[in-house]
Amino acid sequence: MKYNINSIKISFLLAFSAMTILASCNKDLEQITSPAAPEATGSVLGDTLKASANDSLYYRLIIKSGLLPTINNKTTTFTMFVPDNNAMRIFINAASGGLVPLNAPDAVFSGFITANIPAATAAGIVSYNVCPQALTTASIPNSFPNFQYPSILNPAPALSALLRLTTFPTTRNGAWLNNVPITAVNLGAYNGVIHHTAFVVTPPQRYLWDRINSDAGLTYLKAAIIRADSGTAAPGFLQGALLNIGANLTVFAPTDAAFQATLTGAIYQALVAMGVPPATALAQATALASSPTVFSNPALYSVLTAQTVKGIVVYHLLGSRAFTNNFPTTTTSYRTLLNSAVPTHPGIDLTAVFGVPFVSSATVKGIANATAASVVINASPLTPDPSGTSDQHYLNGVLHKINQVLLPQ
């Protein structure tokens, strides 16, 4: 009996332990995993610049701007456009009105940055040269129109948290940020990428209209715009677009002389056609076109209708931002804002000729013009608003003066 009980116990234990072992574990449901992203390497952006001898002046500007913690934040990714020390010297030389000579020791430039450049100015420059996310040249298109990429500069945070000033990087005709050449590209950092620029790229301050409204050489254009807007409902105002931060335009601004010449010719021909003797017609035409009031002269309302003038003005506007370095080197047609009214219009022809490194000459041709108009290229490269004549950059566009009125038909 004892044996029996033992054998029962043994067999029970054997069976139980065998089943226990067998049933030892159920696998969990299969987990699907995706490959982990490669870990970033290197120093953060600020530290990378700090370690670079040729970026010491810009690093000083960053410190002044108070944005060092921003660019050193490991959880954020930025693209930085960084003017090297040479570019910074040129910038400070100009900013100091020549007081800091180009050949001054770097300590002098550093001292000037620390002492004389307001923090807000420094922050404006640095933040305008920082874009969110890593933007290598491979992801910057070379197409036209330009790639409009926001910087981290919000000019009016109270208006909208999403408001940003935008930059215009391109790899067309070389690598550029707006109209400034990029000299070295794709320098890596833990939290982003750095491109060097040959000059300091400053954020635009004003609207296109501010320039047109105040430029003594663009009074006809201003008058034409006002005439074009007369009788138009507010949303269609050209002036409104030229004052809208959301707009993105290129204005080919015929100089007053260009307007005078075109208007004189047109009025003269109209008068001759009406039977006015040529000499009288010339005198009258010259007199009529001698002032921008030509657009507000009631006698000419039937000729210079708001619609006609608007047609001419919008023929001078591109719905994108084209610096001269974005122009094609072989003549190419581009649609203008006129195409929103006349969709099949062939547009204008643009061509640029490059010097080193900037554009030495550029032309714009309307389809009814006999010859192409020339862009009035800056006397010295990168002449900023308000004294420059080409690549004048504003919050909502770029303006080039040209020497002819473009004729759409």
Partner: protein, 912 residues
């Protein structure tokens, strides 16, 4: 039909009133005991040889019988004991009877295989039987779980109390291809279309036996039963008398993985009394309460029209995360097209280029933040059953039964979504007449979905209440703007999504908050038809059936049984489930069958049967069945069968009209063509449209699906009758297989466009597959009686689906192989009072396909065990048991609750 019924009633009444008057003069009384243990043995049949008269011992083993004259020969028999014949010459000198327990295997009597009692050894089709004795000693917390260990059975567990068994594949949480009959009544909830025997049916103490027919069985039990039929039979109060109770207390969640340690309570009470030789009654009650298992599958799921898949990612890494058991996160939007493009086009054109570069220019899909099942589902599962019956012997051959079975429960069920069945109620009420040669049954099933609701829909709607998804200040707009701003500030894509979610989720109520509870309750209690999530199902079934065994007339050439039945479904969901907002929908179904069997040359028995069924919405269908049993030698039989089965499209497949997520499930009834204007706004295949192909769907009239099945089997006693072996192999072919197809209609009513993949009306329509799928498989089992009451057994089965066309979703849901092994002893120790049982189960992993979720299930092993002590003086049993002893959590369907260990101690009084 009315004429048939009236004839039937007249016939039955004639039988009823042909009552023979008895002259009862001599009374024999005695007591029956187990010769081994000397314990009184109840429910032992004591009958007078050569007559139909007899009685049963009561719970104390006593019996009393009146006879006209002496001597008589008494036949004393009970399952598990050897038959005893005693000749009584003098009633006063009659002494007590001792019955010797029998260790013979395979001697049980089954009824369901041929609708007449026969030895299980001689069943012509595969059948498994679970006796009350087996339930008593099973290592299972609930009698229903015993089915799991039977050969070839797969069980889908939705929750603690909601389990769906089937055989031969095609299992799901609400299986419509497997019939479950409780005391002859179809246990399917008429509206919800799944059997609810695990929550509303017999209570454990009242189960006399369960018989499981694997494979097609329509020829005997009518439409449905494509894959098998489970018949549960309760104890007759004439036979099983007395007061019994069974109290189980246990614990679950012992490791705190899903929730804190919680109690499991299962209380059973049964009281049956024979008032006289003519009248008996019984009352049953069962209460189960516990904290339920939970669906805790938080893996990310890619929802597609018919065949989704688990994918990488979680709430942190995937903005469009859609957790399987997380609800509310099914609401998704592509924020680039929904919000960001508009910002780039007008409000902030200077950001257009930047927006275009986000996420590499690809779609930015975002889902709302969901709530886990644990947060939104009532943790308490309660199940209460109440049943009673009155039995009256109209004659010695005819018993009238009036019975009621009522139950209510709160549990969780998986359909196309997860549903909380809250205060679900169902009653089944029947009147039955059973004669030696015929039977008549009329019953009704009354369903009430209570406060049942769709958890997924309720949670999605809840999200809309605290913050609407759409609109300029809606959740997605807030999300998209914050995301854009964060990206503009240099944040990485994941960090920007995190920031966006944090902003959009400002004000999101915690699931534990009063605000949540109040709003959630408001939604789940509002009918679906009024924009809530509440199902208002009060569908009913009315059924009448009769069988007549003509063998006493036809025995010269064959044993013949005939039968008829009529069913009427009344669908009533007030537009919350069916297209019945205008009024209830009635569906009538009629059937008749004839079965003839004959023995040839003493070794061969053949049976042929045929059944005709007609549903008012479908053409009539004839299903034949033929079986052959070849007796190799005594207790060794080879069986062959050809069976057909079919089912009419379920009530839901005919009439459902229910929006689930982004798809609306509709029925196949012709009325839907008008309701949804198929002619004016045609349906296109959704998957094809997503691939850019315009594939117009011509909606065909639905047909019943059918199955033809061949089976060969062997059952025999080997090794000096100590080993019972059963094996079978089968082959089946399904035709007109019923499934669903997701189609899409133009949103605008104009011509279909590619944009309709997101904007169009997605309609899931029931369809018959034109492809034939085949299944085959086998099963084998052995049970061996070792010395000293030890038993060892094992079974294995395999089910395989083949010829599956590409992209065809069959929902086969069966492991290729599964194995059960058991070891036990019904009485050992000094007084043979100790018992134990261990059951090990292994099922191979397989691809589970479900409307709710599809994915691979791993292999599952479970170990159940019990050890028990009998207390013969009070006929009591103390049992310590465990389901899933090793607490190895497992799922048997994607999205269902994950099942852990349940440990219990039970005490049963007067258990027999």
């Amino acid at each position: 039909m009315r004429k048939v019924t009236s004839h039937l009633v007249a016939f039955l009444l004639t039988n009823l009133f042909t009552v023979t008057a008895f002259a009862q003069e001599i009374s024999i009384s005695g007591n029956v005991k187990n010769s081994n243990t000397n314990e009184a043995t109840g429910a032992v049949s004591v009958s007078i040889k050569g007559t139909t008269e007899g009685t049963f011992t009561d719970d104390k083993g006593n019996f009393k019988l009146s006879v006209k004259s002496l001597p008589v020969t008494l036949l004393i028999s009970s399952v598990g004991y050897e038959l005893k014949e005693i000749t009584v010459n003098n009633a006063s000198q009659f002494s007590d009877v001792k019955l010797k327990p029998s260790s013979a295997l395979g001697q049980e009597i089954v009824v369901s295989a041929s609708r007449v009692p026969q030895k299980i050894m001689e069943s012509p089709v595969s059948i498994e039987r679970v006796s009350a004795a087996a339930i008593r000693t099973a290592p299972a917390a609930s009698f229903y779980d015993v089915v799991t260990s039977l050969k070839g059975v797969d069980v889908t567990t939705s929750s603690l109390t909601f389990k769906t068994p089937t055989t031969r594949g095609f299992n799901s949480s609400g299986n419509t291809r497997f019939n479950q009959l409780v005391d002859g009544m179809d246990n399917m909830a008429p509206g919800l279309n799944f059997s609810v025997a695990s929550i509303i049916g017999l209570s454990e103490l009242d189960v006399d036996n369960m018989e499981l027919l694997s494979g097609a069985s329509s020829a005997l039990y009518g439409p449905g039963g494509m894959n098998g039929t489970l018949l549960m039979t309760s104890k007759n109060p004439f036979k099983y008398q007395g007061f019994s109770f069974l109290v189980k207390v246990g614990m679950m969640h012992t490791d705190g993985r899903q929730r804190d340690l919680s109690a499991y309570n299962n209380w059973n009470v049964r009281w049956a009394k024979k008032i006289s030789e003519k009248f008996a009654f019984k009352i049953n009650m069962e209460l189960i309460s516990a904290k339920d298992w939970q669906g805790t599958d938080y893996r990310n799921y890619a929802r597609a029209a018919t065949n989704g898949a688990v994918k990488a990612g979680d709430r942190q890494s995937d903005p469009n995360y859609d957790g399987i058991n997380v609800y509310g996160d099914e609401t998704t939007a592509e924020i680039r097209s929904a919000v960001l493009n508009a910002i780039g086009a007008s409000a902030a054109p200077f950001l257009k280029n930047f927006i275009d570069t986000l996420n590499g220019g690809r779609a930015i899909n975002v889902s709302r933040t969901g709530y886990t099942e644990k947060e939104v589902t009532n943790p308490n599962t309660v199940n209460y059953k109440l049943a009673g019956s009155l039995h009256y012997k109209v004659t010695s051959n005819t018993e009238a039964v009036l019975a009621a079975y009522w139950g209510t429960g709160s549990t969780v069920y998986t359909g196309s979504e997860r549903y909380s069945l809250k205060d679900f109620k169902m009653g089944q009420y029947k009147f039955e007449l059973n004669n030696k040669n015929w039977s008549f049954r009329a019953y009704t099933t009354q369903e009430n979905a209570g406060e049942s609701y769709n958890t997924t829909v309720a949670t999605r709607l809840f999200n809309e209440t605290w913050k609407p998804s759409g609109g300029a200040t809606g959740w997605f707009s807030q999300y998209a703007q914050t995301y854009l701003g964060a990206r503009l500030n240099g944040l990485s894509d994941p960090d920007a999504h995190t920031a966006a979610r944090a902003t959009a989720d400002v004000g999101r109520p915690l699931a534990s908050s009063e605000q949540f509870k109040k709003a959630y309750d408001g939604i789940r209690k509002k009918p679906i038809s009024q924009g809530g999530a509440l199902l208002l199902d009060k569908s009913d079934l009315y059924s009448v059936e009769g069988n007549y065994n003509l063998t006493h007339i036809t025995k010269a050439f064959a044993d013949v049984i005939v039968g008829v039945n009529y069913k009427k479904y009344v669908l009533n969901s007030e537009g919350t489930l069916f297209a019945d907002s205008a009024g209830t929908i009635g569906i009538g179904e009629f059937g008749a069958y004839l079965q003839a069997s004959r023995k040839l040359m003493d070794r061969i028995s053949i049976t042929a049967s045929g059944r005709y069924d007609k549903n008012q919405n479908f053409k009539g269908r004839f299903t034949p069945r033929a079986t052959l049993l070849f007796k190799v030698k005594e207790n060794n039989n080879i069986r062959l069968s050809y069976q057909t089965a079919y089912r009419f499209p379920s009530n839901q497949q005919q009439y459902i009209n229910l929006g689930v997520g982004s798809v609306r499930l509709i029925g196949g009834n012709e009325g839907f063509a008008t309701l949804f204007n198929f002619a004016g706004n045609p349906l296109y295949d959704f998957e094809d449209l997503r691939k850019g192909n315009f594939n117009k769907v011509n909606v065909q009239q639905l047909k019943p699906e059918s199955l033809s099945s061949f089976e060969i089997g062997y059952k025999g006693l080997l090794m000096q009758s100590k080993m019972l072996v059963d094996l079978y192999g089968y082959f089946g072919q399904y035709q007109d297989f019923l499934g669903r197809r997701v189609t899409v209609q133009s949103n605008s009513g104009g011509p279909i466009a590619l944009s309709d993949t997101s904007l169009g009306n997605r309609l899931s329509i029931p369809v018959n597959s034109t492809d034939k799928v085949k299944t085959y498989g086998f099963g084998l089992s052995f049970d061996y009686r070792l010395p000293r009451n030890f038993t060892i057994g094992a079974n294995a089965a395999s089910d395989i689906l083949t010829d599956v066309p590409t992209n065809f979703v069959a929902y086969f849901n069966a492991p290729k192989y599964k194995v059960n092994a058991s070891f036990g002893n019904s009485g050992f120790g000094k007084a043979k009072r100790l018992g134990f049982n261990i059951n090990y189960r292994w099922t191979q992993g397989f691809l589970y396909q479900g409307d709710f979720a599809t994915g691979n299930l791993p292999d599952v092993q479970t170990l159940d065990a019990q050890i028990s002590l009998k207390l013969p003086s009070t006929k009591s049993i103390l049992k310590l048991g465990a389901n899933n002893l090793l607490n190895q959590y497992y799922y048997n369907a994607i999205g269902n609750s994950q099942i852990g260990g349940l440990y219990y101690l039970s005490f049963g009084y007067n258990i027999y």
